[in-house]
């Protein structure tokens, strides 16, 4: 016999996911609609781009200072120093950004592996 509670239990997570997706969809929909009203080279477009640049960097720096999940298992200085090493090396070799990235990742990995051994 068809069991309504099992059906409900199976669908509930997907319904919750649908509700969560609406929270994001609203912003994307608004962004798409409003993008038709903006000229690419206008002052407003430049401002929107600058806001997106500032926001993305803010989010990335926030991950370093206030991480969640596995990154939160490491100490602040263990994340911050390699991050700064990567950024500073990039500023010296800005034509080859991969050098900064690799240096930062190596510095971070070394700290983590060192802590594992200790």
């Amino acid at each position: 016999m068809f069991d309504i509670s099992t059906f409900y239990d199976e669908l509930l997570p997907w319904f919750m996911l649908f509700i969560a997706s609406l929270g994001i969809f609203i912003w994307r929909f608004l962004g798409l609609i409003l993008s038709s009203k903006i000229r690419k080279d206008s002052f407003f477009a430049k401002w929107i781009n600058a806001v997106a640049f500032a926001m993305t960097t803010g989010l990335m720096v926030r991950i370093i200072f206030f991480p969640t999940g596995a990154l939160a298992e490491t100490e602040l200085l263990e994340r911050l120093i390699p991050f700064l090493i990567g950024v500073i090396i990039f500023l010296f070799f800005s034509r080859t950004p991969i050098i900064g990235l690799v240096a930062g990742v190596i510095a971070f990995s070394s700290t983590v592996i060192y802590n594992q051994i200790i």
């Binding site: 919750m16 969560a20 962004g31 640049f53 500032a54 803010g58 990154l71 390699p82």
Partner: protein, 237 residues
């Protein structure tokens, strides 16, 4: 047509390069997190593709697993994802999506697939490709990003109980460093000032106002950047 094909290929190659590695490393962490929280694998993968936003996914997993009421789940995801508005607005303007003869549903799909990584690569590609090639580039980039992140999410989900958290943190570290470096590559002075301001303001405000710090850092940083550029230009004159 050939140009568009090569832009598409360039997008795929870019996606499977460092941007893909950085983003998939973060998604690997998400897979671990979802596995740890006891989420079903299909739901974990479904959340990746349907939400396509790291904060949205993390909030969904965290709140769903503790049985949060629907309204709270919706409002938390809504407030934490306002940045999507700016990313989509900026990304769709860069692509000039409305100049392409595609259906509104297709436009919505591409707007949905804008991520900080995808958007950052678009800002870089706009200086290297013609405007009409950018959509093809973005399609290729997105295809690669969706493929590689789906794979690493499943990998993270399956491996969560095998790897120590410290080791898992190594790939996760790549994304913030990679995107910060990418942002610092901006040539225009207002973008550079915006990047530095946003990077300083957000962590300073976060302990006090939580996710709002991101919105305020963006609005303030972007405005400071443009204002600085205005002052510099005025001085030159």
């Amino acid at each position: 047509m050939k140009k568009r094909d090569s832009a598409f290929k360039k997008g795929i190659l870019t996606g499977f390069g460092f941007p893909g590695i950085g983003m998939s490393a973060a998604m690997f962490g998400y897979g671990v997190f979802a596995g740890e929280a006891g989420l079903d694998l299909f739901l974990c993968l479904g959340a990746l593709l349907i939400l396509w936003s790291m904060p949205g996914m993390v909030i969904f997993v965290s709140l769903y697993t503790i049985g949060t009421p629907i309204l709270l789940l919706f409002s938390t995801v809504l407030l934490a994802n306002m940045r999507q508005f700016f990313l989509v607005l900026s990304g769709m303007t860069i692509i000039n999506i409305h100049s392409h003869k595609i259906s509104f549903v297709s436009k919505l799909l591409w707007a949905h697939l804008i991520s900080p990584t995808g958007w950052a690569e678009l800002t870089k590609a706009k200086d290297e490709l013609e405007e009409k090639e950018l959509l093809s580039f973005f399609k290729g980039l997105t295809l690669a990003l969706v493929t590689i992140t789906s794979f690493t999410t499943v990998l993270g989900y399956k491996l969560f109980f095998l790897l120590p958290a410290d080791i898992v943190s190594i790939p996760i570290f790549i994304m913030p460093l990679y995107l910060t470096i990418l942002m610092l590559r901006a040539v225009e002075i207002y973008y550079r000032v915006a990047v530095i301001s946003g990077g300083i303001i957000c962590p300073l405000l976060f302990p006090y106002i939580g996710d709002w710090s991101l919105i305020i850092a963006g609005l303030l940083g972007g405005t400071i950047g443009l204002f600085t550029s205005y002052l510099v230009q005025k001085r030159k004159k």
